[in-house]
């Protein structure tokens, strides 16, 4: 339970590097890393459920999509909306949907929970895809990006890539710090206990259902924040944001990064996006680049097979190989990965 200095140093360096990155990056790089940071917020939301509470949610894209669509649908036609209310409302809309989905799906367990969350996200997908509300399969454009003003003076115009980069960075930092605090609090420890042995938690006096529902709702709100930022970045939303492929992709991000660690979500989002970009690049693969999903899939299979604890566990794995021992925590981490692996 003692704070691990190397973890804190890693996180500080990572955020510092992200803060300095725009100094050396071009516009493509800034846009790309903004996208990755949005993915990282999204991955953190799922890490709270899968890695910290042991709830394998396969419908996380629904909350992301609701946050994104809220940003577009609630912006008035005549001009930009204020970020002060649009962002909280976007995240809140996703959280409310998560509250409803969670209230029903948390009555099931294991594979049924996975299927029920998938079913709800598919319902949301079809609402966006097939009703006038969602603008159909073509999606909708966000013509006026929200502005952050103070006493009538604009502070931040999210139409500027650099401003959006900075704002996304601040959101990622806030979410990361908040979750880090949350997980060491009494609430977080109760979630860890529920993940380890829910029956025992009930036996000592925890009503576990409200705890799981609170975690699920919070996770939905964070995913909604990520979706909101994504819509503002692209200026465009379409129903694919709700798709189960995207729910699967974010699950792969946290497994790739290493379950049970917030850093894992961060690292996994970067690794996933970089791998995706690598296999899509025509300068490396030529004509084969259009089959990028094949390369990405194979590399994910390889990494799960070779890195049972994810990228986060890599230093520990090397240490074990050199010293020749495995500790109990590592073995338990591998179990968690095994449990998650069977899900999608």
């Amino acid at each position: 339970m003692k704070p691990d200095v190397s973890k804190i140093v890693f996180v500080l360096i990572a955020f510092k590097a992200l803060a300095l990155y725009p100094l050396i990056a071009g516009s493509f790089g800034i846009d790309f890393v903004t996208k990755i940071m949005v993915y990282a917020i999204f991955a953190l939301s799922l890490e709270l459920l899968v890695g910290s509470t042991g709830l394998i949610c396969f419908g996380q894209a629904a909350f992301f999509g609701i946050g994104a669509y809220a940003a577009v649908l609630l912006t008035p036609a005549e001009g930009p909306a204020s970020l002060w209310w649009l962002l909280p409302v976007g995240a809140l809309a996703a959280a409310v949907f998560a509250l409803v989905v969670g209230a029903l799906s948390l009555r099931t367990q294991g594979v049924y929970f996975i299927m029920v969350t998938l079913a709800f996200s598919q319902m949301a997908y079809y609402v966006a895809h097939d009703t006038p509300l969602g603008g159909g399969s073509d999606g909708i454009y966000l013509n006026n990006k929200p502005v952050l003003g103070w006493m009538g003076a604009p502070l931040l115009d999210l139409d500027q890539p650099l401003a959006l980069y900075g704002f996304t960075w601040a959101c990622l930092l806030t979410v990361f710090a908040m979750l880090a605090l949350l997980l060491r609090s009494r609430f977080g420890r109760a979630l860890a206990g529920i993940k380890a042995n829910e029956q025992r938690m009930r036996a000592v006096g925890f009503s576990t259902y409200p705890y799981k529902l609170a975690a699920f709702t919070l996770s939905g709100g964070i995913a909604g924040l990520a979706g909101f930022l994504f819509a503002v970045k692209d200026g465009y939303v379409n129903p694919e944001l709700f798709s189960w492929h995207f729910s699967g992709a974010v699950l792969i991000m946290i497994i790739l990064g290493g379950l049970g660690h917030l850093r894992g979500a961060l690292i996994g989002a970067f690794a996933f996006a970089l791998l995706q970009e690598f296999f899509k690049s025509e300068s490396v693969f030529g004509a084969f680049a259009k089959h990028w999903q094949l390369g990405l899939g194979l590399s994910i299979i390889a990494s799960v097979a070779l890195l049972p604890r994810g990228l986060v566990g890599l230093p520990g794995q090397w240490r074990d190989r050199l010293v020749g021992r495995t500790d109990a925590r590592g073995a338990a981490g591998a179990d968690a990965v095994d449990a998650a692996k069977v899900s999608p």
């Binding site: 339970m1 908040m178 609090s185 009494r186 609430f187 380890a196 925890f206 009503s207 925590r329």
Partner: protein
């Protein structure tokens, strides 16, 4: 025993699984300051009974009273917060947590405060003090920082009891606390139960007959879901019905 001292009372508890009656109108009263053992062959319904008392299993009929209140409709968690602690036959500790954190998390159930998300759980004065106290009583003070999964079997059984004590219960339901223990560990556990007897009402389900007859103040004998005897150890030992059930002398039950 006076009526006020009965902390946990099950009345006419029945549990049916389809056509099978696992527990058939069993009444049991556990008083403060006593160890009440429930014995019986495998499948006699002991675990089903304990699960109905703890709230893990709703009874098909009958009622449960805890500290004078009818708690039949209460969830297990609510009963636990009201003073009902239980340990499990199989170890149900949190293997990745330290011994201390196992006890602290159990104690946290009494002061949950989940909304204080910015406060570190390690700084929670109520649960850290209760955890230390419980670990001390169960004889685990020297092992507080050990990862629970690395404890010996006997130490894990002690930790089960410590986690139970950390919730400050008045009633303890102990499901085979001696299972798989060596002679020395058994002695230590019996000494602990003897100490706990003073402030608690203890229900003990156990297969080790020597231990049961040494420690119990009262013994309830179950056969096929029904109680065939409930008396002091000496009276149970000499009961013809109990001998018949255990030794299979059919005529003794009628004679």
């Amino acid at each position: 025993m006076s009526a006020e001292d009965v902390l946990l009372r099950g009345t006419e508890l029945t549990r049916r699984w389809g056509g099978l009656v696992a527990v058939d109108r069993v009444s049991i009263a556990i008083a403060r300051g006593s160890v009440h053992a429930v014995i019986g062959t495998n499948g006699a319904g002991k675990s089903t009974l304990i699960n109905m008392l703890s709230g893990e299993l709703p009874p098909s009929g009958g009622s449960v009273e805890l500290l004078g209140q009818d708690v039949t409709a209460w969830t297990q968690a609510r009963r636990a917060r009201a003073g009902l602690g239980r340990s499990y036959q199989r170890n149900t500790i949190f293997p990745d947590f330290s011994v201390f954190e196992n006890c602290r998390l159990a104690a946290q159930a009494q002061t949950q405060r989940p909304w204080a998300w910015w406060q570190s759980a390690q700084r929670c004065p109520a649960s850290t003090a209760a955890a230390r106290d419980a670990a001390g009583r169960a004889g685990l003070l020297a092992l507080l920082d050990r990862t629970a999964g690395l404890l010996s079997h006997g130490q894990k059984r002690q930790l089960e009891i410590a986690m139970c004590l950390a919730t400050a219960p008045q009633v303890l339901l102990l499901d085979e606390p001696l299972a798989g223990m060596g002679a020395e560990e058994t002695e230590r556990m019996l000494a602990l139960l003897d100490q706990l007897r003073a402030g608690h009402a203890i229900l003990l389900v156990e297969h080790d007959m020597d231990a049961v007859f040494r420690i119990a103040d009262r013994i309830t004998v179950m056969v096929n879901g029904a109680v065939i005897a409930c008396d002091t150890p000496a009276a149970v030992r000499s009961s013809p019905a109990v001998q018949a059930a255990y030794l299979g002398e059919g005529e003794a039950a009628h004679g």
